[in-house]
C-alpha cells in the first residue's frame, strides 16, 4: 500500500514540474520577463536586482529553479493590465470561483445521485424516461448556451434573477469575501450555479444509473433477494455502496473540470472569479496572470486527483490487500 501511495505522489510531482516548465517558458520567452515582473514603473536598480534573483544570465535549469522558488513564495510578478501583483489579484478573486464551484458541485452531486438512483429503481416509469431524455439534452448543449438560455428566460423575460455579477458580498476574516450572507448575493449565485452544475449533474446521474443497474444484476444481489431481504435494504444498503465506489472516483476527477468550466460560466455571467480573470488575461496577453493561473489550477487538479485516488483506496477494501499477494483470491 505504501508503494502505491509513493508512486501516486511521485506522479503528481512530475506533473507539477512539467506544468511549471510550461509556465516558466511562457514567462521567460513570451514577452519580456523584466516587464512581466516589474511592470512599467521601475528603476534601473530594480532591474539589476531582478536579474540577480531570476538569474537571467544563468543556464536554463537554474532559471527554472529560481522561477519555481519565486512561485513557491507567491511571487508571480505584476499583471500587465492592472500593474498590481498577480498573487494579490488571484487571491482577491479566488473566493468567488470557489463559492461558485462548491455550490454547483454540491448541486451536481446531490441531484445527480438522487436522480440516478431514482431512474435506476424505477426504470420503466414515465418520469424516468422523461428525465433520461432531458439528460441527453443537458449533455449535448454547450455550457455557455445553457447559461444564455437561462439568462434569457429568468432575467430578460421573467426578471426574477440577476444576469451578471455577484451581488453584494460581505468580507470574512480579512481575506475571504462571501456572497452567502446577502439576499442579492444568493440570488446572483443561482443561475451561474445551475449553469455550471447542469453538465456535471447529468453526467453523474447517467453514471449512477448505469452502475446501479449493473449492480442490481449481480449474483450477490440475487443471493440477497434469495435470503428474503427487503427491497429497501437491497437498494440502499447493498446496491448503493457498491454503486458509489466507481462513482466517487469519476466524480472526484470531474471536480477538477468544474474549476475549468467555471471559466465559461464566469464569462457568461461576468462573475468576478479567477476564470474570468484568465480569459481577460488571454485577450490582453497578460502573461504573468496566465502563468500564475496555470500553476494554481494544476496544483488544484493534481491535488484533487491524488486525494480521490487515495480515497478510493480507503473505501474499497479489496484494494488494501498487498498487491503482490492474494491477487484476485
Amino acid at each position: 500500500m505504501l508503494a502505491y501511495v509513493i508512486r501516486r505522489v511521485a506522479q503528481s510531482v512530475l506533473v507539477l514540474f512539467v506544468v511549471g516548465l510550461v509556465a516558466f517558458s511562457m514567462f521567460r520567452f513570451v514577452g519580456d520577463p523584466v516587464d512581466n515582473m516589474l511592470g512599467q514603473e521601475r528603476t534601473q536598480a530594480d532591474i539589476e536586482r531582478l536579474r540577480e534573483t531570476l538569474g537571467l544570465d544563468q543556464p536554463f535549469p537554474v532559471q527554472y529553479w529560481r522561477f519555481l522558488e519565486q512561485a513557491a513564495q507567491g511571487n508571480f510578478g505584476l499583471s500587465y493590465r492592472q500593474g498590481r501583483p498577480v498573487a494579490e489579484i488571484l487571491m482577491e478573486r479566488l473566493p468567488a470561483t470557489l463559492e461558485l464551484a462548491f455550490v454547483s458541485g454540491l448541486l451536481a452531486l446531490v441531484g445527480g445521485i438522487a436522480l440516478g438512483i431514482f431512474t435506476a429503481i424505477r426504470r420503466r416509469g414515465l418520469a424516468a424516461n422523461a428525465i433520461m431524455t432531458l439528460s441527453l439534452v443537458g449533455v449535448s448543449l454547450p455550457t455557455f448556451l445553457i447559461g444564455i438560455l437561462l439568462i434569457y428566460l429568468f432575467s430578460v423575460e421573467l426578471g426574477w434573477l440577476p444576469s451578471f455579477g455577484r451581488g453584494e458580498v460581505t468580507g470574512l476574516g480579512g481575506w475571504w469575501t462571501t456572497g452567502f450572507l446577502t439576499q442579492s448575493g444568493l440570488k446572483a449565485l443561482i443561475l451561474p450555479a445551475i449553469t455550471l452544475g447542469l453538465y456535471q449533474m447529468t453526467l453523474i446521474m447517467r453514471l449512477v444509473r448505469t452502475e446501479m443497474l449493473e449492480v442490481l444484476r449481480t449474483d450477490y444481489i440475487r443471493f440477497a433477494r434469495a435470503r428474503g431481504l427487503r427491497d429497501r435494504a437491497i437498494n440502499f444498503h447493498h446496491a448503493l455502496k457498491n454503486t458509489l465506489v466507481p462513482v466517487i472516483t469519476i466524480t472526484g476527477l470531474q471536480l477538477g473540470s468544474i474549476i475549468a468550466f467555471a471559466i465559461i460560466t464566469e464569462t457568461v455571467f461576468q462573475w468576478p472569479g479567477v476564470g474570468l480573470l484568465f480569459i481577460n488575461a488571454i485577450q490582453f496577453v497578460d502573461i504573468p496572470v496566465m502563468a500564475a493561473y496555470l500553476m494554481l489550477i494544476s496544483v488544484m487538479f493534481v491535488g484533487i486527483n491524488l486525494i480521490v485516488d487515495l480515497l478510493y483506496f480507503a473505501i474499497d477494501p479489496r484494494l488494501r490487500v498487498d498487491r503482490t499477494a492474494g491477487r484476485g483470491t
Binding site: V22, L136, V139, F144, I148, G256, A260, I263, I282, M290
Partner: protein, 318 residues
C-alpha cells in the same frame, strides 16, 4: 461430375455494393431509429447550407461595400425604417443580414471543426505509431506527455495554446491568424486519444507474422509503419474521429464565445452569440436568438447522431 458439354446455369451475380450496404446491419439499425434519422437530416441540411453559403446567402455580410450602417437593428421580416430593405432574420448593429452571417458563420465553425480533428488525427496517429512501434524512450516520453496533458480538460489546454500563440504573434496579424491558431489549439488539445488507441493497436500488430516477415526482408521501419501497420489500426480511429468532430465544433463555439476564438471580423456561430449577448436586454433579441437557435440545433443533432453511432458500432451491445 458433369459430363463435357452439359451446361450448368450461371451462378447469380452477387448483389452490388450499394445494395449490400443498404441491407447491412449498420444501416438497418439506422433506419429503425427515428431519432438518428432526424438528427442526420438536420445535420445534413445545416452542413449543406453552410457549404453553399456563397450561393444561398442573400448578402455577403463581410463585404464592406455592400453594408449600409443605416440598415442596422432591423427586426426580422419588417422593412427598415430608413432604407426600406427587409431581411428574413433581421440585421445586427452593423447592418449585416443575420441570416447570411449565420450561414457564413457555420462555414467557419465546420471548417475549424474538420481541420482541427484532421490535425489531431494525423498527429495522434503518427505519435501513436512511433510510440507503439519503436518503444523504449520514444514511447515513454510520448506517453508521459500524453498523461500530463490528460490531467487537464481539453478546453483549458486549447485556451492556453491560443493564449501563447496569440502572445507570440505580432498584434497586426492576430485577427488574420486567429482561425489558424484556433485550429491549432483545438487540434493539439485532442491528439491524445488517437495516440493512445493507435499505440495500443500497434503493440498488438507489432508481434504479428506479417510484420516480422517485413522486417526480415529488410524494410525500413518507416515503410513498415506506414504501409503495413497503419491500414490495420485505422478502424477504431475513424470511430473516434467522428465523435471528436462533434466535440470540436462545440469547442470552437465555446472558444469563440469566450472571445478566444474566431474574431468579429470573421465570426463563427459562437462569436455571433457573443455579439448578440450585448443586445439581449435592449430589445434587439434576434441578434442573439437566431444564431443561438442554429447552434442548438447543430449541437443537439450532432450529439444525438454521435450517441446513436457509438451504440451502433459498439460490438458489445449487439
Amino acid at each position: 461430375m458433369t459430363e463435357a458439354g452439359s451446361a450448368t446455369p450461371p451462378a447469380p451475380r452477387p448483389p452490388g455494393r450499394l445494395r449490400r450496404a443498404w441491407h447491412s446491419d449498420f444501416l438497418w439499425s439506422f433506419r429503425r431509429a427515428p431519432v438518428a434519422m432526424v438528427s442526420f437530416l438536420v445535420v445534413a441540411v445545416l452542413v449543406l447550407a453552410a457549404l453553399l453559403a456563397p450561393l444561398v446567402a442573400p448578402h455577403d455580410p463581410f463585404d464592406p461595400a455592400t453594408l449600409n450602417l443605416m440598415n442596422g437593428f432591423t427586426p426580422p421580416g419588417e422593412p427598415n425604417a430608413f432604407t426600406g430593405e427587409s431581411f428574413w432574420l433581421g440585421t445586427d448593429d452593423q447592418g449585416r443580414d443575420v441570416f447570411s452571417t449565420i450561414l457564413y458563420g457555420m462555414r467557419i465553425s465546420l471548417f475549424v471543426g474538420f481541420s482541427a480533428v484532421l490535425l489531431a488525427m494525423v498527429l495522434g496517429v503518427l505519435l501513436g505509431l512511433l510510440a507503439g512501434y519503436l518503444g523504449g524512450w520514444t514511447e515513454t516520453i510520448i506517453m508521459r506527455v500524453a498523461d500530463v496533458q490528460l490531467t487537464f480538460p481539453a478546453i483549458l489546454v486549447a485556451m492556453l495554446i491560443f493564449g501563447i500563440a496569440k502572445g507570440i504573434t505580432p498584434p497586426e496579424y492576430r485577427d488574420q491568424m486567429a482561425i489558424w491558431v484556433l485550429i491549432l489549439a483545438i487540434g493539439l488539445s485532442d491528439w491524445v486519444q488517437f495516440a493512445r488507441v493507435v499505440r495500443g493497436a500497434t503493440l498488438v500488430e507489432k508481434n504479428k507474422e506479417y510484420v516480422q516477415a517485413a522486417r526480415l526482408v529488410g524494410r525500413s521501419p518507416f515503410a513498415i509503419m506506414t504501409r503495413h501497420i497503419l491500414p490495420n489500426v485505422l478502424n477504431p480511429v475513424l470511430v473516434i474521429a467522428t465523435i471528436s468532430l462533434a466535440l470540436a465544433i462545440i469547442a470552437e463555439a465555446t472558444l469563440s464565445f469566450l472571445g478566444v476564438g474566431a474574431p468579429p471580423t470573421k465570426p463563427s456561430l459562437g462569436t455571433l452569440i457573443r455579439i448578440g449577448q450585448e443586445f439581449m436586454f435592449s430589445g434587439e433579441w434576434w441578434i442573439l436568438f437566431f444564431p443561438a437557435l442554429t447552434l442548438l440545433a447543430l449541437a443537439l443533432s450532432i450529439n444525438l447522431l454521435g450517441d446513436w453511432l457509438r451504440d451502433a458500432l459498439n460490438p458489445r451491445l449487439r
